[in-house]
């Protein structure tokens, strides 16, 4: 009895975990592999080539979509981190949790509802869809992650540090610059990277709020997938994948992975 149980623990459990990883990675790995395929028929391997990547950079729509995505992600990141940081710094003496709990709605509300809500107010106030609506929506999503992460870090800090600095005659601005910002920096970087990837990957808000004139990369990929399999999509996907892995590596080196996981 005891032996059979230890066999389960020793063999079956790791096997199960291996299968789970296989399940998560099999599609991604095959997709990346076939992005280097030299054949235009998707499932026949005809040798290694970078031809789909070359074609990628020759297609103006893809370059434009990539540009839009990057601009939107950049603006949304800066906006949400700034707004979140101001909120945290301005509410130093607040006792109530209510203003912070407001921001959990961003995560709990289904994204599709947020997307159509934004669409309806933008058309209601006759603001043309495009960069503005995209950045607005992505900032809302970003705030839902930035505020809890920063708040958690801020409450971990010793309030005595701030009080001492204020007592010693520094203004609040000086205190923020010399004491609070350096202490908050890891969480700031982590949340900024998180928002950047979230915005880059976002599909639903972009799908509704993108308007007729601009296109983001994920919406472009979606419209291409609808028409069928194409090796250029494999190439775009591989680039997406390497971008997010790069961000993850940076976070790993910053040692802030645990923080992000516990707030996911």
């Amino acid at each position: 009895m005891v032996e059979s149980r230890s066999i389960i623990a020793k063999i079956l459990q790791p096997l199960f975990v291996c299968f789970t990883y296989l399940f998560l990675y099999l599609p991604i790995i095959t997709m990346v592999l076939f992005s280097f395929n030299n054949s235009s028929v998707s499932m026949k391997w005809e040798g290694f080539s970078l031809r789909w990547y070359r074609q990628l950079f020759k297609t103006p729509e893809i370059i434009n979509a990539l540009q839009t995505s990057l601009i939107v992600a950049f603006c949304a990141t800066i906006l949400s981190v700034l707004l979140g940081l101001w909120l945290i710094l301005g509410s130093r003496t607040w006792k109530s949790y209510f203003p912070f709990n407001l921001f959990y709605t961003n995560i709990i509300l289904p994204e599709i509802v947020l997307a159509i809500g934004l669409l309806s107010i933008f058309t209601f106030f006759r603001i043309s869809l495009g960069y503005i609506s995209l950045i607005t929506g992505h900032t809302i999503i970003g705030l839902g992650y930035v505020v809890p992460i920063l708040r958690a870090r801020f409450t971990e800090l010793d309030p005595v540090l701030t009080e001492a600095s204020l007592d010693l005659g520094a203004s609040y601005f000086q205190t923020v610059r010399k004491i609070l910002l350096p202490l908050l920096m890891p969480s700031l970087v982590a949340s900024a990277l998180l928002v950047f990837t979230l915005s880059l990957d976002d599909f639903l808000i972009a799908f509704f709020c993108v308007g007729p004139k601009v296109q983001t990369l994920s919406v472009y990929v979606y419209s291409m997938v609808r028409t069928g399999v194409d090796p250029t999509i494999n190439a775009i996907s591989a680039i997406f994948l390497s971008l997010s892995s790069l961000v993850m590596l940076i976070l790993c080196f910053l040692n802030v992975l645990d923080q992000v996981i516990s707030h996911e």
Binding site: L24, I28, P99
Partner: protein
Amino acid sequence: MIKKLFKNIFLQEAYFWLTCPALLWEICFLYLPVLVLALYSILDYSSGSTAIHLTFEHYQKIFNSLYFKIILNSCVLAIVTATICLFIAYPVAYFLAFKVNKRFRIFLLFLIIIPSWTSLIVQIYAWFFLLEKNGLVSQLLSTLGLFSDSHHLLNNYFSIIVGMVSCFLPFMIFPIYAILERMDKQLLEVSADLGASRYETFKRVVFPLSLPGVYAGVLLVFIPALGEFAIPTLLGGSKRVFWGSIIVDKFLRSRDWRSGAALAIIGILFPALIGLLIYLFNKSINYFKRDKIKIDKTKKAKDNWDFTESNI
């Protein structure tokens, strides 16, 4: 109370204005849109005049038609996804938290996070690529002799579930792992010392303590799965319609915004209602359990007493 709040905000804290942009942004672009949706769904112009009046016509239309069934179907899909995710994620999280040394654990976590940080569309496309008519899986199955010819593995319920589970699995693993990892490992030793078997330790110590993580994971999977639009559309074909896809259809194709808004509001309220019911159910069960536990305890104490007495 209000005076105190006012004092707190305006007098003691000179930098309260720093909080205004974020709160305003939140209210303007999150709460206002939802409010506008709600108003859209219940207000309408009377025919012929410009006066606005209250109407529940759109809700009635939804409850009387196929749409209600579609919403139920979406709920079932989300529940199935969350359940499968839970059954896969719990052993993985347990393994990561208890059975792996630290270095390797970080590497394994890293591997789980990468897909969850990759675009959803990319992940869906990866499955699309794998499962399509001449894809790897169908080729493999036909060489194994399971299919006579290459088969389309897409456009069925199974492919939707596979896509959903693989996309949302990391969001179930993280919270469970986070809570298991923070758990005091001495508790396990204590439980073993007190004579509990491994299974009993799991049932009575580990699992109850990890429940908050399980709840968080279920929430994180259930909600996006309910509103998911891209996975059922791309992997399930156009025949299978879910809540997300009818909203897209109402807003972007048929331009029937008012019933679309009503659908969205129902889609928010419905899970909230289910959650409330479960919460109340749990509360009442706990209430009854408390009495039972009391009785059990007194009975057990008495039994123990008898036992020791007879020993003497």
